[in-house]
């Protein structure tokens, strides 16, 4: 038997814990495990709070609530942890837990009476349970409480995932799962750790790497959880849930919240809930044409001086007059020359504050309302188009879809589909804002094909006076992969069509001189580019880069050649001049092109919370289309600042977009980030020294206190320094005994002196007199630097002196 055992003196035997279950119930958990449990419970509480505020009406309150509960939990945990010895066996904990659990239930009647608000039953119960979970986590120094908190946290998270589709829920759930696994592993390891004799330090900086990885992830999640921003937009639809995120996912189950069968949306116009059984309403709202004319100024300028002109061939004139007559019947003309005089815009201003309609689905998207074919030099005349009859309806998953013929299918230019739902709020007329290349249209419960009319110009209308308000109309359309068009030799635009064909008004140019001038300009801008899509892109790019979009810059009233003036002189103007010029330039090279008016659903107006995009009156827009032949018309967007809907991005494209956004952010804030990073690295590398400085400062401040406290504070400071130097004292031993370790050889006497002074100050009933100079000398001699120089490996520490 070793003598030190027989002498009754304490020795540092290896730590070991009895393998008893009943005993472990009352064990004190390590701080690390406790913190993991608190983090796990807090994440579950975040998830619940997000679920509770799922109506997105109180984001600020939600953030405030999360901040408050986090703060409370951290403070309470610190408070309990510091008084662990008093509280560990205390009987006061159980009543506290019961009170916390009952708090929500007790408050609810008062809330209902005083504030006239309340919670539903299940939310109330969950609220109470969530509070209990946090309280248990705070009291998690008992392992049994931690286990209970973990069970409640798992249940809460499952419950929330089942009922909610709040933004940020899925990433938070993933983090919760990770934290739960970490807790389980740590919990298991702690039980193992009590049984092993010695631990060895890991050489690999796992904690550092994990921290480094977790911080950007948390920052992204924080950005995602609150507010609409670039990160949100980039992450939108990254992993759509079955809860109904408004995004398409083949793996998602339908049915909850904004799915297809829940709430009639006629109470809340912003809701995209299906109103498939809602009444089709008529209203006295402004018509589509009013909006367009109001948006692009009115009234139309009257011609004072008619210049001499060359008459058109008789048969062409006849054809044109016929078309113009048909168009005029419906008032479907658009004049490029607009008066500078401002009209009465009160109605438009009103409309600015209310969306004309809402679009759910990917943006930007061009929604076609009218197609113009014939241009006489200043006026565009609509292409009435032909009504395609007897289109088949097909039932898919209980919905009836009108199959729209897909011209240009054989060109291999499509890549992926896009789904859009449109709900009209303030728009009159029976034309549905239609995305390009539609393949199907559906209104729930509408199962008769004669309700729709699909025209050869690509427009879809309803066979009634107006599009019903607040009714979602769903479109499925194909997306064009523009990059695939560049080398596509199957496209018939490669062939030069005969200009000024009588039958082909899509290549018609009114004025030969102007046409010639435009052609020369166009040829200059496409010089060296082979005929085909690349030329079209060059023209598009030419207009986008060399001309300035300015809705206030109108052509003069004397103008006769609007396009030439825009192209060669003013070089600025509204979108219709861009679109018309593009059409003319394309036509000058023999491409068949036409002008299209409609609306542009802007990505900037994407409402992250409601997951749709509002389209306002000022989003009325003009663009042009060029045909590939066989009735396939491709969107060409010559106006700068407007984009065309790309094919749906794959997961890697989304990730690369996200990375590009992050990189962009990094580049924009390079200086600040560099300073921050350098500061952070400096603080990290010198964290112990900084901590030591702060603790020393705190000790110096203690000099204002009584002599006893100064002496005791010195011992506290030295213990902190030992911890920083990796020589932390074990809880079950005293500083004097700890200083007898072999590693403390050079400073043992001073450590013992510190312990002696502190013991005297702490345990002597009377006040003691302390020599401040000696305290200062001891503090300097036992500095962090000095202690750091001591060999701090575990083997050395465990040796007895």
């Amino acid at each position: 038997m070793p003598p030190e055992l027989t002498m009754g003196r304490r020795v540092d035997a290896p730590k070991r814990q009895s393998p008893s279950t009943s005993d472990s119930e009352s064990q004190v958990s390590s701080l690390r495990l406790h913190v993991t449990c608190v983090v796990m419970a807090l994440i579950a509480a975040f998830i619940f709070t997000l679920t509770e505020h799922d109506d997105h009406e109180h984001s600020l309150w939600c953030a405030f609530e999360i901040a408050i509960q986090t703060l409370l939990v951290i403070v309470a945990t610190c408070y309990f942890r510091m008084r662990i010895r008093l509280l560990h066996e205390s009987s006061v904990i159980m009543p506290i837990l019961v009170m916390v659990a009952c708090f929500s239930l007790v408050c609810e009647p008062f809330q209902r009476m005083v504030f006239e608000t309340g919670h539903s039953f299940e939310m109330l119960v969950m609220h109470s349970q969530c509070n209990l979970m946090l309280a248990l986590a705070v009291c998690g120094f008992r392992l049994s409480f931690q286990r209970l908190a973990a069970i409640i946290a798992v249940f809460t998270t499952i419950f929330c995932c089942t009922i909610s589709s709040a933004s940020g829920l899925i990433p938070l759930t993933i983090i919760f799962a990770v934290s739960t696994i970490v807790w389980l592993v740590a919990s298991w390891w702690e039980t193992v750790d009590r049984r092993v004799l010695q631990t060895t330090r890991r050489g690999f900086p796992v904690r550092l790497l994990l921290t480094g990885g977790a911080i950007p992830l948390l920052a992204l999640l924080a950005a995602n959880a609150f507010g609409a921003n670039q990160v949100t937009t980039a992450l939108s639809g990254f992993m759509p849930s079955s809860g109904g995120t408004g995004e398409h996912s083949p793996y998602a189950r339908g049915g909850v919240r904004d799915g297809e069968a829940l709430i009639a949306g006629n109470e809340n116009i912003k809701s995209f809930a299906p109103i498939d059984d809602a009444p089709f309403l008529d209203s006295e709202l402004p018509s589509l044409y009013d909006v367009f004319n109001d948006t692009f100024d009115d009234p139309v300028k009257k011609i004072k001086h008619q210049e001499r002109a060359v008459s058109l061939p008789a048969d062409l004139m006849k054809h044109i007059h016929q078309i113009m007559a048909e168009a005029k019947k419906a008032g479907r003309e658009f004049d490029l020359l607009r008066s500078r005089k401002q009209g009465d815009k009160s109605r438009i201003r009103d409309l600015d504050t209310h969306a004309l309609f809402y679009v759910a689905g990917r943006t930007p998207v061009h929604l076609k309302m009218e197609v113009f074919q014939l241009f006489d030099g200043r006026k565009w005349t609509a292409d009435v188009g032909e009504w395609t009859q007897r289109l088949p309806m097909k039932e898919t998953d209980g919905r009836h879809w009108l199959n729209i013929p897909q011209p240009g299918k054989g060109f291999g230019m499509f890549s992926g589909t896009a789904t859009h739902s449109i709900k009209v709020a303030n728009l009159d007329g029976n034309v549905i804002p239609t995305p390009a290349h539609p393949v199907g249209v559906s209104i729930d419960l509408v199962d008769v094909e004669d309700m729709y009319r699909v025209y050869s110009n690509g427009l879809v209308t309803l066979n009634r006076k107006s599009v019903p308000t607040m009714t979602p109309i769903s479109f499925v359309s194909r997306c064009v992969d523009r990059s695939a068009l560049r080398d596509n030799d199957r496209i018939s635009i490669l062939k030069r069509t005969q200009m000024r064909s009588i039958d082909d008004l899509y290549t018609y140019m009114p004025d030969a001189d102007e046409a010639d001038r435009i052609r020369r300009l166009t040829e200059r801008c496409v010089a060296g580019i082979p005929r085909g899509w690349r030329q079209i892109e060059a023209i598009e790019q030419f207009l986008r880069t060399n001309y300035k979009l300015d809705r206030d810059s109108l052509l003069s009233e004397e103008e006769t050649q609007a396009i030439s003036t825009f192209l060669f002189e003013t070089k600025r103007g509204p979108e219709y001049l861009f679109a018309s010029s593009a059409v003319m330039m394309l036509r000058s090279l023999g491409y068949r092109a036409r002008l299209v008016s409609g609306f542009y659903a802007r990505p900037e107006r994407y409402d992250v919370k409601n997951r749709h995009t509002a389209v306002l009156a000022k989003d009325a827009h003009f663009w042009c289309e060029v045909t590939l032949g066989a009735g396939a018309w491709l969107t060409v967007e010559p106006s700068p600042g407007y984009e065309i809907l790309p094919p749906p991005p794959g997961i890697w494209e989304q990730l690369s977009e996200l990375l590009a956004l992050v990189w962009g952010f990094v580049v924009r804030n390079a200086i600040a980030l560099t300073l921050f990073s350098v500061g952070g690295i400096f603080c990290f590398l010198w964290r112990r020294s900084i901590q030591d400085r702060l603790l020393t400062l705190r000790w110096r401040m203690a000099f204002r206190r009584k002599a006893n406290r100064r002496a005791v504070h010195l011992a506290v400071l030295v213990e902190h320094r030992l911890r920083l130097a990796g020589l932390e004292k074990e809880a079950g031993t005293t500083l004097r005994r700890w200083s007898s370790k072999a590693v403390f050889g050079p400073v043992r006497d001073r450590l013992k002196r510190v312990a002696e002074i502190a013991d005297q100050a702490m345990y002597q009933s009377d006040d003691v007199s302390v020599d401040d100079r000696e305290l200062n000398e001891l503090a300097q001699a036992l500095s962090y630097r000095q202690l750091k120089r001591l060999p701090s490996s575990a083997g050395n520490v465990s040796q007895i002196a």
């Binding site: 009754g8 011992a715 079950g732 005293t734 013991d759 005297q760």
Partner: protein
């Protein structure tokens, strides 16, 4: 180092006397300073001592040296299975001359009683010591007799030869303040012991004059009882006691009497350390022998279990506010 402030003038005398006892015990038992220190603690805390070790390690030598040092009457009872309780306490005998019963006191009436190989006595005889050790009195034939104020029992037992022994019951063990194991001396100490034995016939220390004056031991014990114990230290003591009651390997945790003994032993340790207040270090110094006598375990096992108990109970933190 703070000085011990007891009744003026006597403190230094007491400590000098303690030093004297210490020196004499160290002279008798070579290289066992730690054991000697605990014996002193046990003496000053007015507790009884149980020495458990193999034969020939100096248990009896130590007991005799202690009795000689404190200067009281020394009595030795060699415990055997046929030892009767009256052999310990004394008995009434009929005096045929006076025709009255006379009380013949037993060895328990000495100041220092060495109960050698106590576990060889029958439980009946062992129980006879209960009252004497706890209350410092004996009752014989309904007559109560007070024992010496400095009554001090040193019992020894042999852990190896278990044949024909009667393990001490828990109640009896609880009457002891400490259990110590002397252990084999270090080789150097054994060489010194051999050298001193050359030319010496016997090592009889009983003839030496006592190190303590009349009544000085009581004064020292009273001074020890006055050493202050802060509330944080008492809280620490209670937490240790609570932990022993929960520990899986301990059938019977520390009793309140044991807790009082532990505090008094810590006070004695502080006294010997020339302090008038108890620190957690004092508690840790004495906790092993005080607990090991009560745990009903072999001494190696007891040390391991006590270590586990101490590991589970954090010492008072300096950052805690003074109560």
């Amino acid at each position: 180092m703070s000085t011990l402030v007891t009744e003026s003038g006597t403190a230094e005398q007491h400590l000098a006397a303690a030093d004297s006892i210490r020196n004499r015990l160290n002279a008798a038992l070579k290289g066992k300073q730690d054991v000697v220190e605990m014996v002193l603690v046990c003496l000053l805390s007015r507790g009884h001592l149980l020495l458990e070790d193999k034969p020939g390690l100096g248990k009896t030598t130590l007991a005799k040296a202690l009795a000689s040092a404190i200067g009281g009457d020394f009595a030795r009872a060699q415990c055997t299975p046929d030892l009767l309780p009256s052999d310990i306490t004394g008995f009434n005998i009929f005096n045929q001359k006076t025709h009255e019963f006379e009380f013949r006191s037993g060895p328990v009436f000495a100041d220092v009683l060495l109960a050698d190989e106590i576990n060889r006595a029958t439980p009946r005889t062992q129980s006879a010591l209960l009252e004497a050790m706890a209350e410092r009195q004996v009752t014989v034939d309904t007559q109560r007799f007070d024992l010496s104020r400095q009554f001090f029992v040193i019992a020894t037992q042999n852990p190896v030869d278990q044949h024909g022994t009667y393990p001490l019951p828990e109640a009896q063990l609880d009457r002891f303040a400490m259990k110590l194991s002397v252990g084999y001396p270090a080789p150097d100490d054994e060489i010194r012991m051999l050298q001193e034995a050359v030319g010496t016939i016997e090592d009889d220390t009983s003839r030496d004059s006592p190190a303590l004056q009349e009544g000085q031991l009581q004064e020292m014990q009273e001074a020890v009882s006055r050493v202050s114990v802060a509330e944080t230290v008492q809280d620490y003591l209670v937490r240790i006691a609570t932990e022993t009651r929960k520990h899986i390997s301990i059938n019977l945790g520390l009793s309140p009497r044991g807790l009082l003994t532990l505090q008094r032993a810590a006070q004695a340790q502080a006294f010997l350390g020339r302090r008038e207040f108890v620190t957690p270090d004092d508690v840790l110094d004495v906790v092993f022998p005080v607990l090991s006598v009560r745990l009903g375990l072999e001494i190696e096992e007891a040390n391991r279990v006590v270590q586990e108990v101490l590991d589970a109970v954090p010492v008072p933190d300096y950052s805690e506010k003074k109560k």
